[in-house]
């Protein structure tokens, strides 16, 4: 098989280029295993991120035969192709080969205050939370922050200020957590084109997500919360 891998050392190369490697993966190999074998036996200078190899750490998001996904969770034979083209995540600057600079992604994450805000001391026997309320959060906590959605998002492509699907889904995860007491103003910080109204609702994030988080559901949920909150405020005011 042929593996065409994008190579780019920003300090040495004028521009990115594809390098071809011949490699015959074993029957059940993933793309990550193939990349490691190519590196270990053919070209130790090849750089890519990896860690858990079981789709839970979020390190190895990349574009494989045109599709945004995790290299560790993609079986080579499922690609049904004699050629595998591997490129780094789009919408982010390449640092080296398949490694991109995730700084904008992490900055967006920090912007939404991605932490539970519960006031007061720790309750002596823990918080009481209805089983089904906690389970509503579960859709969003499977997010591994791999940035596949951010890379798939057409809004992030044209406007670097947009915080993107993962950050908004994270905010929604806290907004629906019964233990969270953040003020409405914390949601309102995302009440603009850089936040929930930036989304084009073309659902590319949902398609790209390797963990079935459906971040667009979170964006939709935040929009509803914002409208409901503002409507409530409108009617509370005396004419």
């Amino acid at each position: 098989m042929i593996f065409k891998i994008l190579r780019y050392d920003t300090l040495k190369d004028a521009r990115p280029h594809f390098q071809e490697y011949r490699h015959e993966p074993r029957q059940q190999d993933t793309v990550l295993e193939a990349l490691k074998d190519i590196r270990d036996t053919q070209d130790p200078s090849l750089s890519f991120r990896y860690s858990c190899r079981e789709a839970v750490c979020g390190s190895c998001g990349m574009v494989i035969n045109g599709r945004l996904t995790l290299a560790c969770r993609t079986q080579v034979r499922d690609l049904r192709s004699e050629e595998v083209v591997i490129e780094p995540l789009p919408n982010l600057e390449i640092q080296k080969d398949l490694i991109v600079d995730l700084t904008p992604f992490w900055e967006a994450y920090r912007q939404v205050e991605p932490f539970l805000q519960a006031s007061g001391p720790v309750p002596e026997k823990g918080h009481r939370v209805a089983e089904e309320d906690m389970e509503k959060v579960f859709q969003y906590i499977t997010c591994i922050l791999c940035a596949c959605c951010y890379s798939a998002c057409p809004v992030a492509t044209r406007d670097g200020r947009y915080v993107g699907p993962a950050a908004l889904a994270k905010l929604y995860r806290f907004a629906i957590d019964p233990r969270d007491e953040r003020p409405f103003s914390a949601l309102e910080r995302m009440d603009g084109p850089e936040g929930v109204w930036g989304c084009d609702t073309v659902f590319r994030c949902n398609d790209a997500c390797p963990k079935d988080v459906r971040p667009a559901d979170g964006i939709e949920g935040l929009r509803r919360k914002l409208i409901a909150g503002k409507t409530k405020r409108l009617f509370r005011r005396k004419p």
Binding site: T30, E54, S59, R73, Q95, I99, F115, V122, F138, I141
Partner: protein
């Protein structure tokens, strides 16, 4: 030179917990060779133990019972005062994590749910479906973001500088910048994780090379109990991805090729929920006897749990089976085999996480307090990382408050950094040589072949001989690429040097411990020998190789007895 009061190395649960435990007035930073959320803690699945007594079958649970189960599980090699501390602090720790946002699964009453786990007398393991490590790591990282903790992401620490028995600083390789960076610190906490990838078959992340443990050892910090390596009973055949103990906790069966629940022959009462050492050995014995499938695996059968329970309690396991083995556990049994999973041994620290080197602390899997002794119980490692991470943060703060003086050392640190650069240049300038990735693969095979679930004097000696050959080969190591930015060759090259130290002490410790205890099973000495070996093994480095001494175990309420399950 970058200066901090305290540097924490490792951004997994122990490192983050340490960062959250330090005095806010101190200048602290967390250094991690990967982004903290990529740390191996993220892969833990089944849960975290605390005697909350929320489960109807465990309404009378108490931290003392948790401590007893931990000590018995450890085959009595755990220090009982440390086990008490762990289990007592478990309860407020869980409530604090809940308050910080961990989405623990709930019972219908709204309390934190608990499930049965191996070696535990009652259902005591708190969880978030089967993604407990992920939610805990994200929670602690979120709290660290909230408190503006300083992070140096994607920096690999390469050297520890000790001066006059006191920590002076570190040297690190900044992967993104490609620079070697000297760092000055008055105290250092290592939270660098385990060494799973010294083995071929391991459930661990690829990054778990164990460099931190070997680096501390090379800097003169002793190691403890390194011969105790946990093999998890159920890793997915072929990939060795972890299939959580919760699969058995929720009622899964282990079945051999004859269709028999063979645990009946090994632990008739506890069955599949015996401690990990016993279950792993039972599975390996069945396979060795020819009762496995393809002489390589047995089945973990979840089908009788039903679709609904699997979807609700084990969704991550189902995903793993679908994506990595092409089967749905709702319809088909899971092929599993034992694989290296956890390092009971590690950097020798006391219950305050302090090492013999002043100002140098360690916590989590890289450390050995010891609370796990010869065999760790499932659900105790997340707990240990968080509890002792916090204790390390508190201890380091107290140490720094005690007016630890600037001991100088700028010159040594800068020299060490220069020496590293010179060494890398020399390696790079070689015309040809050994490929470090290939050496790593050889080391892994060596360890799996000679220091696995079963060992004896012959395999262990062979391991030591082969290791000596590898050491020779490493002297000819060579870097193919340019050693600039994101040079993973350089990362592995540096870590490999430390891994050889780890491999040597595992082999040697196992050879010298002529008894069987917990995870350490000597086929030539199949009985526990309390008279000679109810002791911790301590490894100290010398010019002539490791020096082994033994230290008494702290025994408290629980007198050692035979382990029956």
């Amino acid at each position: 030179m970058i200066r901090h009061d305290l540097l924490i190395v490792g951004g997994g649960l122990a490192g983050l917990s340490a960062a959250l435990g330090v005095d806010p007035g101190l200048k602290v930073a967390v250094i991690s060779k990967v982004h903290p959320l990529r740390s191996h803690s993220v892969a833990a699945q089944g849960g975290i133990n605390a005697a909350l007594a929320n489960h109807p079958d465990g309404a009378d649970d108490a931290w003392e019972r948790h401590a007893f189960d931990t000590v018995k599980g450890s085959d009595y090699l755990a220090d009982q005062d440390a086990a008490d501390l762990l289990c007592r602090r478990a309860i407020p720790t869980i409530y604090e994590l809940d308050h910080w946002g961990t989405p623990f699964s709930r019972f219908a009453s709204g309390t934190i749910a608990q499930r049965p786990f191996g070696g535990a007398g009652v259902p005591r393991t708190c969880y978030a479906a089967d993604r407990t490590g992920q939610v805990l790591l994200h929670t602690l990282y979120e709290q660290a973001v909230r408190r503006n903790v300083v992070f140096y992401d994607e920096w690999l620490v390469t050297d520890i500088i000790v001066r006059g028995g006191k920590i002076a600083g570190l040297v690190a390789y900044d992967l993104a910048g490609g620079d070697i960076i000297p760092l000055r610190a008055r105290a250092v906490i290592f939270a660098t994780g385990g060494y799973g990838r010294v083995y071929q078959r391991s459930t661990n992340a690829y990054i778990n090379l164990g460099g931190g443990i070997g680096m501390a050892y090379k800097a003169g910090v002793p190691l403890k109990d390194m011969e105790f390596v946990q093999f998890h009973p159920t890793s997915l055949f072929g990939k060795n991805i972890l299939i959580t103990e919760a699969a058995r906790g929720e009622g899964g069966y282990l079945v051999n090729a004859k269709g028999r629940r063979f645990m009946e022959d090994y632990a008739a009462k506890a069955m599949e929920l015996a401690p990990r050492d016993i279950v792993a050995r039972s599975i390996q014995t069945e396979i060795d006897k020819g009762n496995g499938f393809e002489n390589q695996f047995v089945h973990l059968d979840l089908r009788h749990l039903g679709r609904e329970k699997i979807l609700k309690r084990l969704p991550g396991i189902r995903d793993i089976c679908i994506h990595f083995a092409g089967l749905d556990p709702i319809d088909r049994p899971i092929p599993i085999q034992p694989a290296q999973h956890y390092s009971m041994g590690g950097i020798d620290v006391d219950a305050a996480c302090a090492s013999p080197v002043e100002g140098f602390f360690a916590a989590g899997e890289c450390a050995c307090v010891s609370v796990h002794g010869a065999n760790r119980l499932g659900g105790n490692s997340l707990l240990e990382s968080i509890v002792f991470g916090r204790i390390a943060g508190e201890s380091a703060s107290a140490y720094l408050r005690g007016g630890a003086l600037e001991s100088g050392g700028d010159r040594e640190i800068a020299e060490t950094a220069r020496a590293l650069m010179a060494r890398m240049r020399a390696v790079h300038e070689r015309e040809a040589g050994e490929n470090v990735f290939q050496l790593l693969n050889q080391l892994k095979r060596l360890m799996s072949d000679t220091a696995g679930v079963f060992r004896d004097a012959e395999t262990l000696r062979r391991g030591l001989d082969e290791l000596a050959v590898l050491r020779e080969a490493y002297r000819r190591v060579f870097i193919y690429g340019s050693c600039g930015r994101y040079c993973q060759e350089m990362v592995v090259l540096i870590e490999f040097e430390h891994m050889m130290e780890i491999a040597e002490v595992i082999l040697l410790g196992a050879l010298e411990r002529t008894e069987t205890r917990g995870s350490h099973f000597r086929t030539d000495f199949p009985k526990r020998d309390d008279a000679a070996f109810l002791k911790h093994t301590i490894f100290t480095r010398s010019d002539k190789g490791p020096v082994i001494t033994y230290r008494d175990v702290q025994i408290g309420r629980y007198a050692p007895q035979e382990r029956k399950y």
